[in-house]
């Protein structure tokens, strides 16, 4: 079963992780990623650029409206993700708990819809 681990950040955690003091946290993150790669559980992972680099798109009455941002700093924002393929939501949760940023901001563990179905 595949799970999306949604990693939330806030402006302070972002700064911390990319700063010199954040090096050990980054190393910890690398180590965990390697562990998941080696166990064959990691499907993919990406970090997102900061929110000001975002474009927001809406279609209002069939008219596309594209805006930059959100430019205002939100308390928490979606900062990156991991897709893992593992035995259970318990295992996925265990991975999320060990993700270093969980000490500062929450992670969400969401099952990814699969296409298998039983007929019985």
């Amino acid at each position: 079963m595949k799970y999306l681990l949604m990693i939330y950040d806030n402006p302070e955690t972002r700064e911390l992780f990319f700063s010199n003091e954040g090096k050990s946290l980054m190393a910890e993150m690398e180590a965990l990623m390697n562990e998941l790669r080696e166990s064959g559980e990691l499907v993919s992972t990406e970090a997102l650029a900061d929110p000001p680099n975002t474009r927001t798109v809406r279609a209002q009455n069939g008219v596309p409206v594209v805006t930059d941002g959100p430019l205002a700093e939100a308390k928490e924002h979606f900062g990156g993700y991991l897709v893992v393929d593992c035995e259970s939501i318990e295992r996925a949760t265990e991975i999320a708990v060990r993700w270093p940023s969980a000490r500062f901001c929450p992670l969400e563990v969401r099952p990814i819809m699969d296409t298998g179905a039983t007929d019985g």
Partner: protein
């Protein structure tokens, strides 16, 4: 000239025999497995063009053994392991099978190989991957496609499995008699998981996914031939045959899911059903009993009913009771609730469901609500049924199941006299009016 599918079929049949032959003589299972994969690849490229050699098994063993020698030689350069190479080279000269030996060995190593691939030290995902490669003869890319993960992820699972085998000093031999039943349970579970992955597939690279079901059947048949007296092996094979017989009927032309009760039984594969029914009847007649055999027996009762309304639900209730006694599972209880409802009416089924409301194992699962919805629907309580279908739909983590549950809810009509505009708006924006 031999066609590609013919070659592939032959290679997959020979794969475990070739690997068994190598692994029996050399204690480096991981290196043997790599060597055999390389030999299979070489054959897959050369045979369709050049034709299949007269003695394909001998050819594969010889090529794989050369690769293994090269590999160990390279390693020797690094680690100075003269002794191993000398031993390998001696065995290469003395024990390359002659042409007359190019028939399946008397002692089939397939089972030993399966026990090794399904060693309890490995995780289930690794067991599955390794079994499909070592016993099924599939390539890493094929397995990755079938399981919808990147090839690198699958390669990692296989190499991790082989590392574990190597690090744990796990040898290529039959497990001791006393542990064999336990180990066989793991093997059967792995085969069951492979089958399910293929059978439940409704999209994705369809061919590769459904091929998993065929592959699971092929390997289980092999195991059944090796241990014909094992009732659970026969039971699992029968269960797979009877379930797979429904494959053509389980999806509508638009790809949506069709449940057992609504399937066009004319689409069922009668030959596979006859095969499965005969197999399970013969096994049960020997007085053997086990979870796979009972599930096969239940599948047989369904398969033998020409119309859904001809189903012998009393028999199914009795079989589920037996099954729950020897292998308790909330899913079996839910299935029994449906059968009970068919025999004694929906109220009796709902009462049984009420006893499961506090069950943690079902708390987040959609199945309890889906069954409740079905029984409420049977009882004629449309609003409650619709509510339960919607609840189940929200909990489902499978797209076809979610669509199915939504369609059942929709069939029961719209909820109350809410204005049309509010009903068609997304739920989050539908403000109560009036």
């Amino acid at each position: 000239m031999t066609s590609q599918p013919e070659v592939e079929h032959l290679l997959r049949e020979l794969a475990p025999q070739v690997l068994g032959s190598l692994a029996r003589q050399h204690d480096r299972f991981d290196a043997c497995e790599d060597a055999v994969q390389e030999a299979l690849l070489a054959a897959a490229t050369r045979w369709p063009a050049e034709g299949v050699p007269e003695h394909p098994r001998t050819w594969l063993i010889a090529v794989a053994r050369r690769r293994l020698i090269d590999e160990v030689r390279n390693e020797r350069a690094r680690r100075r392991r003269e002794e191993t190479v000398a031993r390998l080279e001696a065995s290469d000269r003395s024990s390359v099978p002659g042409p007359e030996e190019d028939r399946p060995p008397e002692h089939d190593d397939t089972l030993t190989l399966l026990f090794l691939c399904c060693h309890p030290a490995l995780t289930p995902t690794s067991q599955i991957a390794l079994a499909l490669r070592a016993v099924g003869g599939l390539t890493t890319a094929q397995i990755a496609h079938a399981f919808l993960v990147p090839e690198a992820t699958m390669a990692q699972r296989i190499s991790r499995a082989k590392q574990t085998i190597r690090a744990g000093g796990i040898s290529f031999e039959m497990p001791p008699e006393a542990r064999r039943a336990d180990r066989m349970r793991v093997v059967l579970h792995v085969l069951y998981l492979i089958f399910n992955e293929g059978y439940t597939a409704t999209s994705g690279p369809h061919l590769q996914r459904t091929e998993l079901a065929d592959e699971a059947i092929r390997i289980t048949r092999l195991v059944h031939r090796l241990v014909p007296s094992n009732g659970e092996v026969a039971g699992l094979l029968a269960l797979m045959l009877l379930t797979n017989a429904r494959r053509a009927a389980r999806t509508a032309p638009d790809g949506s899911l069709v449940l057992l009760a609504d399937q066009d039984r004319g689409l069922w594969d009668r030959a596979a059903i006859d095969n499965g029914v005969a197999l399970i009847a013969c096994t049960l007649a020997r007085g053997s009993l086990g979870p796979y055999q009972l599930q096969a027996a239940i599948a047989a009762v369904h398969a033998e009913a020409r119309r859904a309304e001809d189903t012998d639900w009393r028999e199914i209730v009795a079989l589920y009771e037996l099954l729950e006694r020897i292998a308790p599972s909330p899913v079996f209880t839910l299935n029994r609730a449906v059968a009970v409802a068919m025999v004694r009416g929906p109220k009796a089924g709902l009462e049984l469901l009420a006893t499961m409301d506090g069950d943690d194992r079902l708390a987040r699962h959609h199945y309890l609500e889906a069954v409740r919805a079905r029984l409420l629907d049977m009882a004629g309580d449309a609003p409650a049924a619709r509510h339960a279908y919607r609840l189940a739909a929200r909990r489902a983590t499978s797209l076809p199941e979610r669509r199915y549950l939504e369609s059942r809810a929709a069939r029961l009509g719209s909820p109350g006299p809410a204005p049309q505009s509010a009903r068609s708006a997304p739920a989050s924006r539908a403000a109560p009016r009036g």
